[in-house]
Symmetry: C2
Subunit: 353 residues, 2 copies
């Protein structure tokens, strides 16, 4: 297959980790006889510096011509005091809305070699294998807002179609996994949550093979710590998803390797590591590229339907970990820390021995 | 001193745990020569059953005549399918608003004898000693809302005075502790959060001895797991506070002993355990009354200014734990589990040996 990928390196360690992921994608293309075309554009702080706009028109146009987007990370202290329209994360919010990337997928899986660095006890997290499906283009993030010096206002609106499509998406994903769906809301307080819960109840009949539970956001925040292995797929609205997916990202000690996908309904999507731009280690060649490489695997699977190729990358990454090769953020005492390049070489060697 | 306390036993184990706490308050009254008058009223499911109203007028009137409120817990499966105005938790929401209980205090402290039951590693939680100050009468909980079958809407509004009083409250509390305040918001998205952050910045000058940091709600949800001992006082708006305080309540393994206070500006307040009504063990005489007893200690301290008396209760409870006496929920293997009464007797014996 021939595919176009727009690469948005972004800020901090973004350029380093996307370089590694692109190398891996190229190796996969060669091995499986695809041809991937990579085109580069700016977003976030880099785009503000070059174009005074965190999401320049050139970037949007390039993305529109491509089949998927691979993003590094955005943000850094340099732009922290900018007005809100000229902040790096505004580029992220705008690209989500522009491309209608309504479904944010954040898988969290326990990796045996990393459980030592989990803040939680091993027996609590060893069987964790969950997927958070977060609604990404509605709710408080994109509602009307307004403020004066004396009062401020944000609005949380959801329409039936907005809820239906994310709920359908989550049911479909649950079907491909352990067939258990947890819908998270605050139905004892919010009208949007009550509508959300009703729609999940209505949809149940269409997916009789999936078991469904409703859970309040506050008790979910507890259970993600006390019994995270009980979850399979969690679906929730934008703000709750922001909080819960970040909470979930640290439980297994593997934040540095977590990928994410933000999808449109036609499988076009944006793929990026969950971790941030880590400005403090940028440019040193020591960043961990695993999360971005695994995001590239999600890209192949979800946007290009290349399951075998995606699995090959995932397998390569887990083999490298199992063989005891780590970048500095993950290396235990007595183990030599590899550079970004050295570690990526090991992954490439697994893909094409 | 002579004081009136309204007791709202509520549902499930509520009646059992408030009985224990009232006994402890009576013992304190005797020892320190106060006279506490207890008057009982209904709330939640019990009030729905008796008065078809989760917060009957009689209850409100009794509370209005008293100096503080002690609450057990509300809720249970019996009322789960009631319309939203006839649900137990509506009684809670209404009593908060009616009495302007704008400041919810939720302390979380590591208790050495309980760290074994923490889902987190001991080294992460052993030094935890934090206080969450949650705004309790504004935001999404009490905004306009509306829904049809096809769309739903909730609104998040904060006025300057609403934010100022909770922020002042948090600064004042930080002064009495380790003088570190973390203000949590989502200022990269919400206008209410930007106003919140500005007000915290303005207030800083009035409390030069308190160090202040701003933290986004999503990264706070992570740090409560990875580095909870770094926090002293956390202040945040209503919905974020709901989620983060529940998250924080499970990190030390001591959910069963966590108290809470919901305060008005004149020190009138409502005190209740953080745990719920636990209908599955109600009426068996095995509930853990520690959280309610510690809530009674907060009542003495915050509403009646009786610090010595409050400390006497806290000391009694921690002595009983240190001597190895636990109710069933906390007893480790090989240790005999005491009943609610037996355990309360031990506390009473510590107070008046
Ligand atoms: C940067 C920020 C606006 C963004 C969000 O809140 O969605 C981020 O936290 C995320 O989860 O991708
Ligand atoms: C019962 C519910 C409405 C309530 C809340 O969300 O405030 C509870 O979760 C709490 O934290 O006291």
């Amino acid at each position: 297959m021939e595919k176009k990928i727009t690469v948005l390196p972004g800020d901090g360690i973004g350029p380093e980790v996307v370089t590694a992921a692109v190398e891996v994608l190229q190796a996969v293309a060669k091995k499986y006889e695809h041809s991937f075309h990579f085109a580069y554009a700016t977003i976030g702080g880099a785009a503000i510096d070059q174009h005074n706009d965190p999401l320049p028109t050139e970037t949007i146009e390039l993305c529109e011509e491509s089949d998927a987007i691979l993003l590094g990370a955005v943000g850094g202290p340099k732009w922290d005091n900018n007005p809100s329209d000229l902040r790096p994360e505004k580029g992220l919010l705008r690209i989500r809305k522009h491309f209608d990337l309504f479904s944010n997928l954040r898988p969290v899986q326990a990796i045996p070699s990393m459980l030592k660095s989990s803040p939680l006890k091993e027996e609590i997290v060893q069987d964790v294998d969950l997927l958070i499906v977060r609604e990404l283009t509605g709710g408080l993030y994109f509602g009307d807002r307004n403020r004066t010096d004396d009062e401020a206002f944000d609005s949380l609106t959801y329409t039936r179609p907005e809820i239906e499509r994310i709920v359908d998406n989550a049911f479909t994903l649950a079907r491909l996994r352990r067939k258990k769906l947890t819908s998270v809301d605050k139905a004892n307080v919010l009208d949007t949550s009550r509508l959300w819960r009703e729609i999940v109840e209505e949809k149940k009949a269409q997916y009789p093979d999936v078991s469904v539970e409703h859970s309040l956001v506050d008790s979910t925040a507890m259970k993600l710590i006390t019994a995270p292995a009980d979850y399979d797929v969690i679906v929730t609205e934008n703000m709750f998803g922001d909080i819960l997916s970040d909470e979930a990202s640290v439980i297994t000690g593997s934040l540095g390797v977590l990928p994410s996908a933000s999808m449109r309904s036609d499988n076009f999507g944006l793929y990026e590591p969950v971790h941030g731009s880590a400005p403090e280690i940028a440019g040193k060649g020591i960043a961990n590229p695993a999360a971005t490489i695994l995001s590239a695997a999600m890209l192949l699977q979800y946007s290009f339907g290349m399951s075998e190729e995606a699995k090959a990358i995932e397998k390569a990454v887990s083999n490298v970990f199992e063989k005891g090769y780590f970048t500095g953020d993950m290396a235990h005492k007595g183990v030599q820390a590899l550079s970004t390049n050295e570690w990526t070489e090991r992954v490439l060697a697994e893909i094409d021995p």
